[in-house]
């Protein structure tokens, strides 16, 4: 079957505004979602879930969030790790304070708490821009991690300094903590991932998204056109933080089970998420997802090749892993500075015309 939009004439603005205006795109995405919900849960193994699928879904949510702030609204943030920590620690406090609250509510509430914190740390963006703003978000990163290790109230005065997700049940099945079965953890993360991707797409295609992009492209012109910079920037900070907070909460209660802010949510996480959106494509929902998939899968694939296939020692392989991934990122950015999203667009434009390029 050819990939075609020939013969597809849009007869209403509604159909032209669809997320996937080309029918075959729509079918592919719908079948992917169907497979993700109704097929994969029956096959997913512990290893697949913990090595690739869960990190992809969880960091994918964070990448969507950061892309709203950085890719769409143009405000660079290096504080994502810190905001993930806010999500994780609020989830812990909420779970221990309300032992009967449904896990979905716990995670959503954690996201909302992070949204409020993100709003506060977004205030400097009204005064400072670019590099200086990045530095202020870096300060937020260090401050938040420091606060979560320094004040024992956050980890309920536990001796280890860790927070631990206690087990809770839904339909008699564990849905949080260390004993969650792979398909259950997968489905919960998938529900969040798909709904948040859907919401991100909607927010960025409407008037709010255009306000963000206007601020990103030329803030003075945006203001003269009627964009209130205060509400536009703060809404981006808030929504982005909600996403990143939810991602942190999921990482804590469905992936690690027990975390310590300094180990799990350090500056390396902030950079990881930033790399995801840069090589995926700034200002693109597809790019956030592709970037997350790439940076989650690449190390696993490389490790498999080097350790299992070439039988290299593990420590040597892990050094090479860094080197190769670093080199790959540089290479991709040289080939296409706008990331996977742009590559994909170019391929699609070619495909649309193939095999008759003129």
């Amino acid at each position: 079957m050819l990939y075609r939009e020939v013969g597809e004439f849009k007869t209403s603005y509604q159909s032209d505004q669809q997320t996937f205006p080309i029918t075959s795109d729509r079918l592919v995405v719908l079948s992917l979602i169907f497979i993700a919900f109704f097929v994969i849960p029956f096959f997913i193994t512990e290893y697949m879930a913990s090595a690739i699928v869960l990190p992809f879904l969880i960091f994918g949510i964070a990448a969507l969030g950061l892309n709203i702030l950085t890719g769409y609204c143009g405000q660079v943030s290096l504080g994502s790790g810190g905001f993930m920590a806010v999500g994780a620690y609020s989830c812990y406090k909420i779970m221990t304070s309300f032992p009967d609250l449904n896990i979905f509510f716990c995670v959503i509430l954690s996201g909302l708490v992070t949204g409020v914190v993100g709003l506060a740390f977004g205030l400097p963006s009204l005064r400072i821009k670019g590099f200086y703003l990045a530095v202020s978000t870096l300060a937020a990163q260090f401050f938040l991690v420091w606060a979560f290790t320094k004040f024992p109230w956050f980890f309920n005065f536990s001796a280890s300094g860790q927070i631990t997700a206690n087990e809770r049940l839904m339909f008699d099945i564990p849905v949080s903590g260390a004993n969650v079965a792979a398909p259950v953890a997968y489905l919960i993360c998938l529900i969040f991932f798909v709904s948040l991707a859907f919401i991100a797409r909607n927010l960025t295609r409407g008037s709010l998204g255009r306000k963000w992009m206007a601020i990103r492209d030329m803030d003075i012109a945006a203001e003269i056109i009627g964009v209130n910079p205060l509400t536009a920037k703060l809404s981006a900070f808030c929504i982005s933080s909600i996403y990143i907070g939810i991602s942190g909460a999921l990482l804590f209660c469905l992936y690690f089970g027990a975390v310590e802010a300094g180990d799990a949510f350090g500056i390396d996480k902030s950079f990881l998420i930033l790399f995801m959106i840069i090589i995926g494509g700034l200002g693109s929902i597809f790019g956030s997802i592709a970037g997350a998939a790439f940076l989650v899968a690449m190390p696993v694939i490389l490790k498999n090749i080097m350790v299992d296939f070439l039988a290299w020692p593990v420590d040597l392989a892990s050094h090479f892993e860094f080197l190769i991934i670093g080199a790959l990122i540089v290479f991709i950015l040289i080939v296409e500075p706008h990331g996977f999203a742009m590559l994909w667009r170019i391929i699609k434009e070619k495909l649309r015309l193939w095999p008759f390029p003129h």
Partner: protein, 278 residues
């Protein structure tokens, strides 16, 4: 001997040579003075803009014309003077609040949103007419979708009007200069402004593009009845388009009246036409 009153001194409506009726003043600037440190960009200038007219502001480089538009849309706040908009004294407002009052503009140096398509730029110009809540937008349900479709229809009317259908989905950064100027006009028109400010809409264009742009400006004024204040260096264009002209030099007003009156004004001839301009 009593001199006939120039239209600029009239308080109320008048009829133009080509028979259009011009309404009362929509914008009155009274004794505006704007300083940047020691530089006086605008010095005690008063003039008004009537409903439905095309009002030109001319003057040599650095005369303070762009600064005047920046005062009108709230980007600069004058140290002295009063601004009366639609009959009321305007308190100092932020530029985005003034946009919501119905004042839109284009810029001397194009200020489009480079990463967005033509359509998105024009839709962004429409945002003062869009107020769906965040929740409805997040779910793309009900009002969000309805509002988007309605405003899309309006944006398409502007796209048709400006004859830019073929570049609808092209990121504006890729467009040639002349088309960018046109898209910028479209973005301003999308706001359905009651006062449209154009800062050198034809600068850097070739003759053909200038003719197109002149036609669009006249059509906007005639078909939509939009009040327009524009800055332009090309005297022949100004003479063709404008109902009345303000002439500025070194921050002062040196002339105000119909194009014919201004052309005969000795101060204007000395200051403006004597000075080389581009």
């Amino acid at each position: 001997m009593s001199k006939q009153k120039a239209p600029s001194e009239r308080q109320n409506s008048y009829v133009t040579a080509d028979g259009r009726t011009i309404g009362p003043a929509v914008m009155e600037m009274k004794n505006i003075t704007l300083r940047f440190g020691g530089v006086i960009a605008i010095q005690g200038i008063s003039f008004d803009i009537h409903e439905g007219e095309i009002r030109a502001i001319i003057g040599p480089n650095g005369a303070g014309k762009s600064s005047m538009l920046n005062v009108i849309n709230g980007f600069y706040h004058p140290q002295e003077g009063k601004i009366i908009y639609k009959g009321e004294v305007r308190r100092p407002l932020k530029p985005f609040e003034i946009a919501h009052q119905g004042i839109a503009r284009t810029f001397q140096n194009i200020a489009l949103f480079k990463g967005m398509t033509t359509l998105d730029n024009i839709m962004t110009g429409r945002l003062t007419h869009m107020n769906t809540g965040m929740l409805s937008q997040a779910l793309w349900w009900g009002k969000a979708q309805r509002e988007e479709t309605e405003n899309r229809a309006f944006a398409e009317r502007i796209i048709d009007f400006l004859e830019i259908q073929s570049i609808r989905k092209v990121p504006v950064g890729r467009l040639p200069y002349g088309l960018q100027k046109r898209v910028e006009l479209g973005r301003a028109l999308a706001a359905e402004p009651s006062l449209l400010l154009l800062d050198e809409p034809m600068a850097g264009m070739n003759v053909e593009e200038k003719e197109d742009m002149s036609r669009f400006i006249l059509d906007v004024n005639e078909e939509f009845g939009t009040t327009i204040a524009l800055i332009e260096h090309d005297m022949s264009v100004v003479m063709d388009l404008a109902d009345r002209v303000v002439v500025m030099d070194y921050g002062k007003k040196i002339g105000d009246g119909t194009p014919d009156e201004v052309r005969k004004n000795q101060a204007v001839i000395d200051a403006y036409l004597g000075v080389s301009h581009d």
